[in-house]
Structures are given as structure tokens and as C-alpha cells.
Amino acid sequence: MVSLTIAGFLTLGIMSFVYKDNPVYKLCESIFIGVSAGYYFVSIFYQSLLPQLTDKIGITGELSDSALAYYRETGSLASPQWFNLIAAVLGVMMLLRLVPKIGWIARWPLAFVIGSTAGLRLIGELQTNIMAQIQKSILPLWDPQYIDGSLNMAASVGHSLTNIVMVAGILTGVVYFFFSKEHKGVFGGTAKVGIWFLMVTFGAAFGLTVMSRMSLLIGRLDFLLRDWLHLLG
């Protein structure tokens, strides 16, 4: 009960900025940030740093098949442990940032992080986003539907229309994202249709999110009114 009251006070305090910035908000904000920074400081130390540096089994805690076989046989790991050392060294370089004169050395671990991210994304995007989308975009514009062996005109037109709209959405959208050609004439018209499609997508996303956020609020109120205050049967 006490904790709920504290939580309630903090929530109200933080939400009070809606009214205007006020001392209570400033107080709650400071407490909230202090607690959270402290919490993450401790938990990242225990959950990330410590296990990573002392971890004997590798990052996932799962061994590859042959590494597992090797482990069973010899009781030691094939995985190169000197990586822990590299990680530790890069970590220390990061800390050197606090020393003004040699702080620039911290760019090495940062380069390491950005470099590996960039390399990974380079190929990841190509695989999951570009190539896979081509496959999904090939739809027959005329899609005959057969019901009991005979061509059903209404269903065929419906399916075909669906495919046509879909293909139009993809192609006009791609045209909209064209940067090196002026949006004029037919090209400009196509790009305009593309932005219409984009807006329909955003509208739909917004509508669905309204639904989801409202569900959350309702769920929370349901809990408060029913389980906490017992106002509902």
C-alpha cells in the first residue's frame, strides 16, 4: 500500500508537467532519474560487464555443436579466450576518455563499435529488406480465381484489384523516394500518388496505435477500479 502510494505520488508528480513546470515535477524528475541511473549502473555491471568478461562459455551460453563436443571431451573450450582480453583492453581505452590528454584514444573502441555495426547492417539490410521485398512484390496483375473449376469473374476482379493496388503502392512509393530526379510531369504525378499511399499507411498506423494505447489505459483503469478500489463487481 505504501509503495502504491509512493508510485502514485511520483506518477502524479511527473505528469503534473502537463499543467506546467512546477517544483513537484522537478523533485519527482530528479528522484526518478537518480533511482533509474543507479539501477542501470548496478544492473549493467552485474548483468553485462561481469558475465561478459568472466564468461567461460561464450556469449550466448550456448555452444556450437563442435565446440560442445570438444568441451565434453576435454573439459575446456575451443573458443579463444583472448577475446576477453581484447574486450577488456577496449573497455579500458574507453575509460581513458576521462583523461583529457589521451582521451582521443577512446575513439578506437568507438570505431570498433561503429565499424562492426555498419558492416553488419550493410549486409543485413540487403538480405532482409531489399532482396526479400523484391520477392514479395511480384504479384500477378490478373489473378483468375476458379470456383468449382469455372472462372469466377467477381472473385478474379477482386483479387486482381488487390494485387494491382499493392503493386501500385510499392512502385509509386519507391518513385517518391527518388532523390536525383525532379518531381515534375508524369514522374511527379507518380510520386504524388506514392505520398498518398504513404499517408494511408501512416493513418492506419496511427489509428491502430490509438487502439493500442487506449487498451493500455483501459486495462490500467480496470485494474485500479476493480482490483484495487473494488468499485466494480
Binding site: I14, F17, K20, D21, Y25, K26, C28, E29, F32, I33, V35, S36, A37, Y39, Y40, I44, D65, S66, A69, M94, R97, A106, R107, L110, V113, I114, T117, A118, R121, L122, I123, E125, L126, Q127, I130, M131, Q133, I134, Q135, S137, I138, P140, L141, W142, V167, I170, L171, V174, V175, F177, F178, F179, S180, K181, M199, T201, F202, A205, F206, T209
Partner: protein, 392 residues
């Protein structure tokens, strides 16, 4: 080795006991058994393939499954190494196999009453790990990568020689205006790199835009506030802003305390940023990067504080919020192009042109597929293209 022997002993024992139990005719064995190292794998696996036992089809006591057996030489005892269902004409043996060791294989066809028969021995096969993945879809991804990278690099080279056109984007033009507005009003600019970590592409885009923004801010002599969510992102942001001030020739104007870490926690972070907005009343807010549920609360508070707001993200749902609540939104690829636009360096413009070539190829492949799908009955081109693209 001892384990292998023990298992062999056990299986021999079962073999004997089964042969006592099953009085019925055992099924016909599988034929044409071959064993080959699994291609494009990390090793320790062998692919087996065979012609199924004809007795899968017989009405009485049909074959219900296969057991894969392995041994170190063709005459040493065989142990189980996997199974396959009836109807299969191949399987991968992998339990306990080691790289660079030769193995021999047999397949045992089991009938419903547990009677069985064994195939001829196949092998030797030596599992090894490959250094290049030759599966068709990997080859296609590689081809795609070489092509797109080629497009971008070619255009970057070409851009040095001739001027390339890029169309104006409202959101990007607004960035300059936003910085100018802050200078006129004498108020700071707030830049949020989102809640992503440095391993997210959107965050990297946020760094590059921040670099351009910071350089302009330094030139115009206004103030830039960058509260950060992720510690690595925070360190990089410090470097970015410091470097930009240096570039602009005003390193002394860089204030380390204006690029700071808050906490790695969604709502406390949001509370802090809201506080900054209400107190500092920034003239312009930038939200570039990865955003989650907090996006709308930030944008609404920014509106309340009277700031011009420019957002960019590649998250569809947050894009919709930003489009509704912000003054300008960079949609998806526009955010990734923003840095190149702002830099106005020919190389950067060239890379944008390269991206466009990629889109032309994408659109033409889709169109080609669509057209051939339309002519499906006339020519088999669609089937071919589909095979190529789906890497079947």
C-alpha cells in the same frame, strides 16, 4: 572412443534381440546410399541421400522410418546418428560428428513391427567447414551486394567530375531554417538521438546529421543541447559535436556540459527531456534516430514549449506520430539521405544517386516480374524469374 564402443555394443545387443522378436519378413533396404560432406555449413555434418525402400508402400507391415548409422571404418560397429521419417530420401547426420575425420554410413529401414534391414555401407565422407556459402540465395545476396555497392561507389567517383542534381526535401531545408530561427531568437537547439543504441542504423544516421547540425550551430554561434540515452551514443555524440565545433573553427565555443548522459531508461529519460524543454524553451527540437512510445509525449511537450520540431526515423509507427505532431518529418530513407544533403559534398550527393540506381533496379525487377506474371500462360519466364529470385 569408449563411448562409441559402448554404443556399438548396445546396438548390437538390440540388433540380436530384435532379430529374435521379428519373425516377419523384414522390409527391403534402401538403395543407392551416398554420403557427402554437407555443403555451405560450418562443418561436423554429412548429408546422406538414398532411394527409399519400396516397402514404404506395401499394405502390410510398411516401412515407418529410417535410422542413420555411423562408424569410423566400414567394418567397425555402427552407432545411431539420427533418424528420418518414411518418405524421406535423405537426411543430415550430425550428432557427435567431428571435422576432418572420415566416417562410414548405413541406413536402417524399420517396418511397423520393428523388423528392419540395412543398406550397403556408404562413404567414406569427411565433414569439413566451408569458407564460402554457395547456396543460391547467398549467391544472390552477394550479387546484390556487389551491384549496389558498385552503384554507390561508381556514382561517388563520378560525382567528383560533374554536378549531380538532387531534388529539394522540405524537411531537410527546414533544418537550416530551424538553426537560423534559434539564432534569431537567441534560444538553444535541442537534439535527441533517439533511444536506440549505437548498433542501430537509425542512430548512426543521427550521428551524421548531428555532425552537420552542430557545425552550423557553431557557425551561427547558438547553443546546442544533446541529452543522451545510451552511454556509447553519448560518447560518440560528444566526439561528433566537439569535432564539428573544431571544424567550424570555434573549438572554444564547445561546452562539454551541453552534451550529457541522462539515464538508460525510457520514462525517466523522457521526464528529463520534458523538463529541459519546459525550462530552456528551445527554438528548435530535432528528433532523429530510433524512437519508441515516448515519441508522441516528446513531440506534444515540444509543441507546448513553442518549439519548431523536425523529426526523422525509420520506425513506421513513430513516423506516423511524428507526421501528426511535428512540423517536419523525414520519412525513412529521407533521414538517411539528410546528412548527404546537408553536407553538399559531391561524394555524398553521388552516394544518393547510387541509391537511386538501386531503386531503379528494384522497380524494374518488380515490374518485370509483374509483367511476366501477367503472361504466365504464354511464356515460362515468370517461373524462371521466380526461381531465380526466390533462389529455389
Amino acid at each position: 572412443m569408449r563411448k562409441l564402443f559402448l554404443a556399438a555394443l548396445l546396438s548390437t545387443f538390440f540388433l540380436i534381440s530384435f532379430s529374435f522378436v521379428s519373425a516377419q519378413t523384414p522390409p527391403a533396404p534402401v538403395t543407392n546410399l551416398t554420403a557427402k560432406d554437407t555443403p555451405s555449413d560450418k562443418g561436423a555434418q554429412v548429408d546422406l541421400s538414398w532411394t527409399a525402400s519400396p516397402d514404404e508402400q506395401r499394405a502390410e507391415n510398411p516401412v515407418i522410418g529410417y535410422q542413420l548409422l555411423v562408424a569410423l571404418s566400414s567394418d567397425s560397429p555402427f552407432v545411431a546418428v539420427g533418424k528420418a521419417d518414411a518418405g524421406a530420401s535423405g537426411a543430415t547426420a550430425k550428432d557427435g560428428l567431428k571435422n576432418d575425420q572420415s566416417y562410414y554410413f548405413k541406413v536402417r529401414a524399420y517396418a511397423a513391427d520393428s523388423s528392419f534391414s540395412e543398406s550397403e555401407v556408404a562413404g567414406p565422407a569427411t565433414p569439413t567447414g566451408q569458407w564460402w556459402n554457395t547456396q543460391p540465395n547467398y549467391i544472390w545476396i552477394f550479387v546484390g551486394m556487389v551491384m549496389l555497392v558498385g552503384f554507390i561507389l561508381y556514382n561517388i567517383r563520378k560525382a567528383g567530375k560533374e554536378e549531380l542534381y538532387i531534388r529539394p526535401i522540405a524537411g531537410i531545408n527546414a533544418i537550416d531554417e530551424g538553426i537560423g530561427r534559434a539564432t534569431e531568437m537567441g534560444k538553444p537547439i535541442l537534439y535527441i538521438c533517439g533511444l536506440g543504441d549505437a548498433a542501430q542504423a537509425a542512430t548512426i544516421a543521427a550521428f551524421s546529421v548531428l555532425g552537420r547540425v552542430a557545425q552550423k550551430v557553431a557557425q551561427y554561434q547558438s547553443r546546442l543541447i544533446v541529452p543522451c540515452y545510451d552511454p556509447i551514443v553519448f560518447s560518440i555524440c560528444q566526439d561528433v559535436v566537439k569535432g564539428a565545433y573544431l571544424n567550424a573553427g570555434r573549438p572554444e565555443a564547445y561546452n562539454e556540459k551541453d552534451v550529457f548522459f541522462v539515464t538508460q531508461d525510457q520514462f525517466p529519460y523522457m521526464a528529463a527531456v520534458n523538463g529541459i524543454m519546459l525550462r530552456e524553451k528551445p527554438a528548435t527540437n530535432f528528433y532523429i534516430g530510433q524512437f519508441y512510445a515516448e515519441s508522441l509525449m516528446l513531440a506534444e511537450t515540444g509543441f507546448q514549449a513553442g518549439s519548431i520540431q523536425i523529426a526523422g526515423t525509420d520506425q513506421l509507427i513513430q513516423m506516423s506520430f511524428f507526421i501528426v505532431a511535428c512540423d517536419f518529418t523525414l520519412i525513412g530513407e529521407e533521414m538517411y539521405a539528410a546528412s548527404a544533403y546537408l553536407s553538399k559534398e559531391p561524394e555524398q550527393i553521388g552516394s544518393i544517386k547510387g541509391q537511386d540506381w538501386g531503386k531503379v533496379v528494384f522497380a524494374s525487377l518488380s515490374l518485370l516480374g509483374v509483367v511476366s506474371a501477367l503472361l504466365e500462360h504464354k511464356i515460362g519466364f515468370f517461373e524462371m524469374l521466380k526461381k531465380v529470385l526466390l533462389a529455389e
